[in-house]
Symmetry: C2
């Protein structure tokens, strides 16, 4: 087992010189804040870690703002951390080496809607809900939906996905082009609006998932999809988690183009019932959605209903109106907050393993057994169509032994997933939390190759230093 | 306009020391050849360039063979070029800086078929047809199909695609994991068999499309897809290329999940008729394929037929039997060779632009006008559903002015495509041929970032040096 993450050992503060603070104030005026409350807000995310906040926060309103802030950081060799909505779960935003935060939430313009090409270009602070509202009139939508209303920049930086990835892919598949501020403050473009390209190294995908350590994203061009002619959502209850998972495996192996295929265990159902005033029966269930023509949707649903029945699944309950569907999916997206509000004062340690689909039943089964034995409050939600699921353990921050226990359970789960040829993180990223797991998964030599790239692109180690790996 | 590629200026031979040849012979015996015919075979590809061949060819049979050859090359600072089937169109395989070729065609084992996970792991010398034959019994298939029966290693290295990419993506979307021999001869793994991951930098996609300049691929894990329940192929003739293209644009904007959507102009139809003994009417046509359930296929085809009619398209002609379909697609895949056999002694200069779908009609229209004015024999084939098409100019290698003219036409087309926010290469890669275009497309600063990565991972510049960019 890896030793639990020791944040104290990761702290390597690099003080911001007074001259740099003066230069930031001169350049940004009131848009550079050193107020304690502002710093603290930018010094934490949804991870369970507490570290001192950044020394200043710059509110960027343009690419030039970001570039100028990074140039100063480069000059003074001070860390810079881009901040979107603060919804990271793995400590990506924490200033373990000090420095400044660059808040890009005011860079929230939808710059170019190219609806006839099914693409859109946005600034990094645009959130996924804001984007979908802005393009609704086009008949198109952007499918990637992590639980939070995250920023598109942050989603690209963590290679996020969500409930639609089983059909539409993740940020890996959906980012076409980027504008990036490099470690020296230079502004680059990667990719084009062409759907495919063989033009040199795939810098776009190198930046996607690099967690702010190779560049700061200042524009993101993503793919859009036509709103399906027909959408229907169904709930199917199962006698066991295992039955729901085995149904999912069969659906994927059959090639059914299901748009969403989410597992909730009985605990998750209870929490979302409480939080979102639903009255779902607290039993393991799949929450599914089908996209296509009316006939296509009916056909998919029929196939899946038959597969589900073979595994003891009940008759589908349909969410027939858009309002009902929205209510269900909103509740699903809020599961994280539902868990916290049902366990007041707790923090959440969330696992994120993803395994080849045939191994998913084994992986979840062992995780459930271990969670039941451990006795911590927990729930399971999963993008099971992708082989990805989360066990969220609710821990009392006043009881450090609970965090140790949750980390131990996560560790066991990750190593089981790796033995099944899976990954320690399907969509949340490495951040501070999973650096040991990354080495276990990829091997020391492969992580060393990542370090070579980092040193080449950021020789002063100022871009979100200490994340993904220690240099 | 960029100056036409001057291969003579790219030649920077780095002689292979006798001691290294001795060491190769000692290690590989007869599997290291310096025979003139063998060297010449490995010193060319389908590009129109002629350069001196590599000094030796090593026939690798294992990852260890590749690693040992690379270690010797590293020790003596000699270039190494991986060779699969030799079907590159852009000069990727040409030994412009001398060195040795590592032929991986004997590394042709399908290592692990994980049909229940829809993945397969192969050695790099496995060809796409070989792979599909090996997995046919599983009910799965591998969709990526460049014209040639290329090797999976070569396809990954050039980020290849083909006729199915409109629905199934390219090598970018379909490679899950790699085994790679680095510039120092170390063996690494990137990625896992999980469908998605946020675990650190996306080294897999950095290697995909890196044209052998960052590592040599020794294992490739790719996604597979269930053979569709129903497949039907249709031909639709149009009064003009423009009408066919506008039909395609509308199909994509409607979100029809068409599996293949290929344009052939009248010239291309004539050539494939001659070469494959078909009797297609020589007029602009779309060759399409629909995958899905029987009802889904019928529905897609009906939608597309209606769209086509709106643009003057004729009634679909159906290829109803698998044999008919195979015959049509085989002919389509052989278009390149059909063009050459109809113009004996010629070589082909092929363009490869890809643009946002709404710009495709404008892009093709201008290209056709310019090609007609120029007077060289040409034909057009296109993966038009992706916005990607090829004009192939047939040139007489004895008339250098024809190559200059073809290059000038390509140059005009590329710069038009770039002005439309497209790319100079959808699927063939940069190689030697498009290095100027890459700078025009990506910008000097972005290409400089690629150079930084290259220097970091290959400090002695031994991995296929001189390709993509000059260092």
């Amino acid at each position: 087992m890896n030793a639990p993450v020791d944040i104290a050992k990761m702290l390597q503060p690099r003080p911001v010189p007074a001259a740099m603070l003066d230069a930031l104030k001169a350049r940004f005026g009131e848009r550079c804040s050193t107020a304690q409350a502002v710093r603290e807000q930018h010094g934490r995310d949804e991870s369970p870690f507490e570290v001192p906040p950044p020394e200043a926060v710059v509110f960027a309103e343009s690419t030039t703002d970001v570039a100028d802030a990074v140039k100063l950081a480069s000059q003074y060799e001070v860390p810079v951390i881009a901040y979107g909505t603060g919804s990271s779960l793995e400590g990506h935003l924490l200033a373990v080496q000090g420095g400044i935060s660059i808040d890009v939430s005011r860079m929230n313009q939808v710059l170019r809607i190219n609806d006839e090409d099914l693409t859109v270009t946005v600034q990094p602070g645009v959130t996924r809900n804001q984007l979908n509202n802005a393009i609704r009139h086009t008949g198109l939508f952007f499918p990637i939906d992590p639980g939070a209303d995250a920023s598109i920049g942050g989603m690209a930086a963590t290679r996020a996905s969500g409930t639609n990835a089983v059909r539409y892919g993740t940020m890996r598949e959906n980012v076409l082009a980027l504008e990036v501020v490099t470690a020296s403050g230079e502004v680059l473009r990667t990719g084009t609006r062409a759907k495919k390209s063989s033009a040199g190294y795939d810098l776009t995908r190198l930046m996607v998932g690099s967690e702010g350590t190779l560049g700061i994203l200042t524009e993101v061009t993503v793919k859009l999809y036509p709103q399906p002619e027909s959408v229907s959502a169904a709930i199917c209850h199962f006698p066991s988690i295992d039955a729901a998972v085995k149904t999912t495996i069969a659906i994927i192996q059959l090639g059914v183009p299901i748009a969403r295929c989410e597992l909730l265990d009985a605990n998750a159902v209870r929490y979302v019932n409480n939080h979102d005033k639903l009255s779902l029966r607290p039993a393991p269930m799949l929450l599914m959605e089908f996209h296509g023509s009316a006939a296509g949707v009916a056909e998919q649903a029929q196939t899946v209903q038959e597969v589900a029945r073979d595994h003891g699944g009940e008759d589908f309950q349909w969410a027939t109106t858009p309002e009902e569907r929205t209510r269900l999916w909103t509740a699903r997206h809020r599961a994280y907050f539902a868990g916290m509000s049902s366990n007041p004062g707790c923090r959440t340690v969330t696992t994120d393993t993803c395994v080849p689909i045939s191994r998913l039943a084994s992986c979840i089964d062992k995780a459930v057994t271990e969670a039941d034995e451990a006795g911590l409050p927990y729930y399971i939600v999963g993008h099971v169509g992708d082989g990805n699921f989360h066990i969220a353990y609710m821990i009392d921050p006043g009881k450090p032994e609970q965090r140790v226990l949750a980390e131990q359970l996560n560790d066991q789960l990750v190593h089981h997933a790796l033995s099944l040829e899976g990954t320690c993180t399907g969509e949340h990223g490495i951040g501070l939390h999973k650096q040991g797991f990354l080495v276990d998964e990829a091997g020391a030599a492969t992580v060393e190759m990542m370090r070579l790239l980092k040193r080449a692109l950021d020789p002063k180690n100022i871009l979100n230093p200490g994340k993904i790996f220690a240099l």
